[in-house]
Amino acid sequence: MRALTVLYDQDCGLCRRAHSWLAEQAKLIELQFVPCASEQARQRYPQLNHDLTKKDLTVIGDDGAVYFGPKAWLMVLWALTQYRDWAYRLATPELLPTTKKVVSVISQNRYQIGKAAGLTR
């Protein structure tokens, strides 16, 4: 795998903040950012359920592998030079259930978190 496409929610402040943070990080794998359910996304992935990508973060590898929700977060971590070992750690059977729970809570409340943190729309 050489590149990952990140389908992110452009309407959420937290996601945009995460996007700019990710842009600065050293990467082992190229990350391409495409707003979810956008024209560009639909053209690139004609068979993908784009309504679902609005619900949670989706990451797609250059081989077409789709990672949804917590798995997508792990894949993004895995792409970063500094955090690859963390991706493996969080994906171990002991930690994976907790990772999934925490990530889901953040994802479901991303608008409220963004607002509370003062990241305006």
């Binding site: 795998m1 082992l28 053209q43 690139r44 992935y45 004609p46 068979q47 993908l48 797609i60 590898g61 250059d62 081989d63 077409g64 592998a65 789709v66 990672y67 949804f68 798995k71 792990l74 894949m75 895995w78 690859r84 070992d85 991706a87 493996y88 969080l90 994906a91 994976l96």
Partner: protein
């Protein structure tokens, strides 16, 4: 010289030579590990190896000298040998703990290198067609 002084001298001789022996073993056998960790960068491996051994010497000699004082009078040879065995035993345990700690650091360094593999941490949910622009 009193038996107490002899006990101290023998204690110092044994613990110093043990420390040197363990440090040399670490220095000799740890090098292969470090060369592997640093992707065959011999100069860096030798440098880190040397620094580790210096730390090892400092901590052990520090312990040996702190633990020298007996705190009671040794009256005969039997008491001297008993005191000696307790003191040397403590030094051995500290050396052993330090040795395993060093091994732990080496294996951690190696694992850190191994973790940099190209396998994703998790399997995908599905596959989709990619339409190249």
């Amino acid at each position: 010289m009193t038996i107490g002084i002899w006990t101290y001298l023998i204690y110092l001789a044994i613990s110093i030579s043990l420390t040197i022996w363990v440090a040399r073993t670490l220095h000799k056998n740890g090098r292969v590990f470090l060369v592997d960790v640093f992707h065959g960068n011999d100069a860096l491996a030798d440098s880190v190896n040397h620094l580790l051994v210096v730390g090892f010497y400092l901590i052990n000699f520090g312990y040996v000298s702190m633990a020298l004082k007996l705190g009671y009078v040794v009256n005969n040879a039997q008491e001297g040998i008993e005191a000696l065995s307790v003191k040397v035993g403590m030094v051995l345990i500290v050396l052993g703990a330090m040795h395993f700690f060093n091994l732990y650091i080496f294996s951690r360094m190696r694992r850190r290198k191994a973790v940099n593999s190209n396998l994703p941490p998790i399997g995908p949910d599905a596959f989709t067609k990619v339409q190249e622009a």
